[in-house]
Amino acid sequence: MPSAPVRVILPGMLRDLVGGVAEIEVESSGDAQTVAELLDRAFAEHRILDGKVRDERGQIRRHVKVFVNGEDATRGEGIGAVVPAGARVHIINAVSGG
């Protein structure tokens, strides 16, 4: 039985790059996947987002946050953090700059 999809919610600053798409649903292949696996799937059809959220090593950019069910994954295990089925994942541009 398929698991509930994960909802990846994009920040406003990135939506213009993908035709106004605000949210990407990613089917869960099992009970859980890592943030890295989730982003691989979420960005498969929106390649331009990959370079915005991650550097070429696959690391989340310094001023980008990924929240999994309201918890800041970038403070914990980062791209290795586990994303449960049905999770809500927010990609957020950090409140930084001058």
Partner: protein
């Protein structure tokens, strides 16, 4: 109708100034608002009106964007245009320099941070790491300058595709005689006064900018303390700082058709970084640095700003246009080779790069 275009990259976006007569100017922008634009190239080869920009969003990272209509509209590749290969375990920080190759109209070079050179063979759509420089045994010992460690200067040699030069702060000048496959330091005569013992090391000089002159093998270099000329294509360097108000500065420009004509923008001192006597000015030499004269008509006094290494450029008209951008967001243009300047933009963010060209 020929149009003069001045691309102005700043800390928070790109502006484009346009003029049909280099007297009346319009200003468009910002493009890429809130993103730093540290490098621009205007590619007029084969009649193109292509503008390439190294754009860095503080949130969404660095990239290269392209315009084929003279900077009016821009596109970004969905895939990363420029990225380090996975085996380097390195991430791109910033694109510092974009240089169309004079020998191959499909080639564009990119100098980036961390210290690396990339090459595009498809007019700037995709770039690949130049392994010869990346694998150089000196690379781990190149120190970052205050702005970061980057290949910030790329000087190909027209008519000799095998010959090119790069410069970096603080690695110095490196030359290749085989199209970039192998590289050697080439700093004889360039002083590194900040070094405690050997002031003339093989490499490690803080070269701020190098420009190719029109004399045989002629190059000019502005250093962190020191202004130099080479007449043997960078194999050796001689000081030409005598007669200047200061030997510090960031940028150097060489006339595109007349040998021996060179401009620098002097900066009072490494510890001050303001114009000498608070008078914004360029210093021009018509004899390859033997003598200098100040050009400041139309430039402000009581000025405490600074012109950074890429914030000055020339167009290709006759007489040549000279353009300066300042850290306090002014851009000045001269249509008479520096004799008089007018302000064509003001109140912009700090200017990082200025490039000018005539588009048909």
């Amino acid at each position: 109708m020929t149009e003069t275009v001045v691309a102005i990259g700043t800390r928070k976006g790109l502006w484009i100034a346009r003029s049909s007569d280099r007297t009346e100017w319009t200003l468009e922008g910002p493009h890429f608002l809130m993103s730093e634009v540290a490098s621009v190239a205007i590619d007029t080869r084969q009649g193109r009106s292509t503008v390439l920009a190294g754009v860095k969003s503080w949130h969404w990272g660095p990239t290269v964007q392209a315009s084929t209509d003279g900077g009016r509209t821009w596109t970004e590749s969905a895939e990363r245009a420029l990225a380090f290969p996975s085996d380097t375990d390195t991430a791109l920080e910033r694109v510092w320099q974009l240089t169309p190759d004079p020998n191959d109209a499909d080639v564009v070079w990119a100098g980036v941070e961390p210290h690396a050179l990339f090459k595009s063979t498809d007019r700037g759509e995709r770039y690949e790491l130049v392994r010869g420089l990346w694998d150089h045994p000196h690379r781990p010992t190149w120190e970052p300058g205050f702005g970061g460690g980057a290949v910030h200067t790329i000087v190909p040699e027209p008519g000799h595709p095998e010959s090119m030069l790069v410069a970096m702060s603080a690695g110095g000048v490196y030359r290749s005689a085989d199209g970039g496959a192998t590289w050697s330091p080439s700093n004889p005569g360039i002083r590194a006064g900040f070094m405690p013992d050997n002031e003339y090391p093989e490499y490690g000089q803080c070269v701020h900018k190098v420009a190719r002159g029109q004399g045989d093998g002629e190059l000019f270099a502005q250093n962190h303390n020191g202004v130099y000329r080479s007449s043997d294509n960078g194999q050796s360097w001689q000081s030409i700082a005598e007669g200047l108000p200061t030997d510090f500065g960031f940028t150097v420009l060489a006339h595109p058709t007349r040998p021996g004509v060179v401009w620098v923008v002097p900066v009072a001192d490494a510890g001050e970084r303001i114009p000498p006597d608070a008078q914004l000015q360029v210093q021009r030499s018509d004899d390859a640095g033997a003598t200098w004269r100040r050009q400041a008509a139309g430039l402000p006094d009581h000025s405490y700003t600074c012109v950074l290494r890429d914030a000055a450029g020339l167009d290709s008209a006759d007489p040549v246009g000279v353009y300066l951008g300042t850290r306090n967001g002014d851009v000045f243009a001269s249509a008479d080779e520096g004799e008089t300047f007018q302000r064509i933009a003001t109140q912009l963010p700090d200017v990082l790069v200025v490039r000018a060209a005539q588009l048909v």
